[in-house]
Amino acid sequence: METQEHPYGKAVATLIEEFGHLPGIGRKSAERLANHILSCTLAEANALADAIRNVKTSVKRCSMCFNLTEDTLCRICRDPRRDQHVVCVVEQPKDVVALESSGAFSGLYHVLGGRIAPLEGVGPEDLTIHQLVHRIRKQGITELVMATNPTLEGDGTALYITNLLQNDKVRITRLARGIASGSVLEFANREMLADALRGRQQF
């Protein structure tokens, strides 16, 4: 974008350009957001700017699980009521949010920071796998719940970690996959049904 030639002037053009870098924001949406900033009060604009600045300066990775936190340890790692011997392994902090919203897990988490994707140049050394292994051996973890995405790369990452820990006394489980509760078999796709049949349990 040629910032000099923009009809609103250089400052607005820069703002539009910056908004345009956000995910899911195209040029039209960026202009709409910039117009909103122009029309709001200085206090509101400053509050937004401060919020962005604060999040970048105060949020860091939890020293134990690599989730996002403003302290050394995240809220979940600090909570003594959580099961300290069960760790759920996820790819990204947003996966922790999704799993926490289910309310069905009371253990701790470990955020890998991605998945092993050789085609994208992401190897095991780019993730927090080494720290996970160290944590399991040091903290007496008894169960590891693999909650990486149910894709080839997610499964491959879970498999890599499982291989690393094959001589350790830790129970490794994988999230179940199959038909969603409340859905209808008739409309479930072939893969869902196959997964559900493979992972059937004693009733």
């Binding site: 050789p118 085609l119 994208e120 080839l152 499964d155 491959g156 498999l159 094959q166 796709n189």
Partner: protein
């Protein structure tokens, strides 16, 4: 702009937006092409979890003529890649073998250059990687050699590139990488010859170009044969791609 249908293998995915992806396919009908899959990450949508890496699916897409990204409108899963002996240490090698197939397809083929034999070879190789008790080195060497043959870059495995003498069953040879051929001991020069290869391994490679993936996947090679054949195949592929495939460092022979 036209609506096209194809049987395709997913060889690469890249996030485009919060829920959309750019998916690179290798199809039987059109060769390699990339398409934007809007809403690909959503559970409910027209793609029905068919766009996982190395999945084979039946796709419908709008082919754009102006060089802009094609648009995927439908994808139905035909077959998902399930690594060999899933859950055992060997299955990780099988996963990486699958990634290697995808990397070579992406690196050694051109957009919209149909090659149905390459598509069939790739699907057969993935099936072999999924099969129980198949021989991993044989599968990978066969895929590399057959792919090189199909794209016209297989080294000449029948005679010395300098003197023209046929390969002697008792002789030793070297791979002349830049010329895509072999050098006999008499013609070998250190400055332009690559790794050594025995006549026995050359014979293995020649037979591999004639056998099917399913048949070859059951052939057990000696360690020396596997190493020599792999070195030759990787050198030829590195020469063709202009770089060493990155997935190779994960594969254990």
């Amino acid at each position: 702009m036209s609506l096209e249908k194809a049987d395709a293998l997913v060889i690469r995915q890249a996030d485009f937006s919060e829920s959309s992806r750019v998916v690179t396919f290798f199809s039987r009908e059109f060769g390699k092409f990339a398409a934007l899959a809007k809403g690909a990450k959503r559970l409910k949508g027209p793609f029905d979890a068919a766009l996982d890496l190395l999945s084979t699916c039946r796709v419908v897409f709008i082919r754009k003529s102006s060089g802009t990204l094609n648009l995927l409108t439908e994808a139905r899963l035909t077959q998902r890649f399930t690594p060999q002996n899933s859950g055992t240490p060997g299955s990780l090698n099988s996963v990486y073998g699958g990634y290697y197939v995808a990397e070579l397809l992406n690196g050694l083929t051109e957009d919209f250059d149909p090659a149905p034999e390459v598509f069939d070879l790739s699907v057969a190789t993935l099936n072999s990687l999924s099969a129980v008790d198949s021989q991993f080195p044989s599968i990978i060497i066969h895929f590399q050699i057959s792919l090189l043959q199909l794209i016209g870059l297989l080294p000449n495995l029948f005679e010395c590139s300098v003197c023209g003498e046929s390969v002697d069953q008792n002789g030793g040879y070297a791979h002349w990488v830049s010329q895509g051929g072999l050098l006999c001991l008499a013609c070998r020069r250190e400055e332009y010859s690559g790794a050594s290869i025995s006549a026995g391994s050359i014979e293995v490679l020649r037979r591999m170009t004639q056998g099917s993936s399913e048949l070859i996947s059951r052939v057990k090679l000696s360690r020396q044969q596997a190493e020599e054949c792999q070195k030759l195949a990787v050198s030829a592929i590195t020469q063709a791609m202009g770089r060493r495939p990155s997935t190779l460092r994960y594969i254990q022979f």
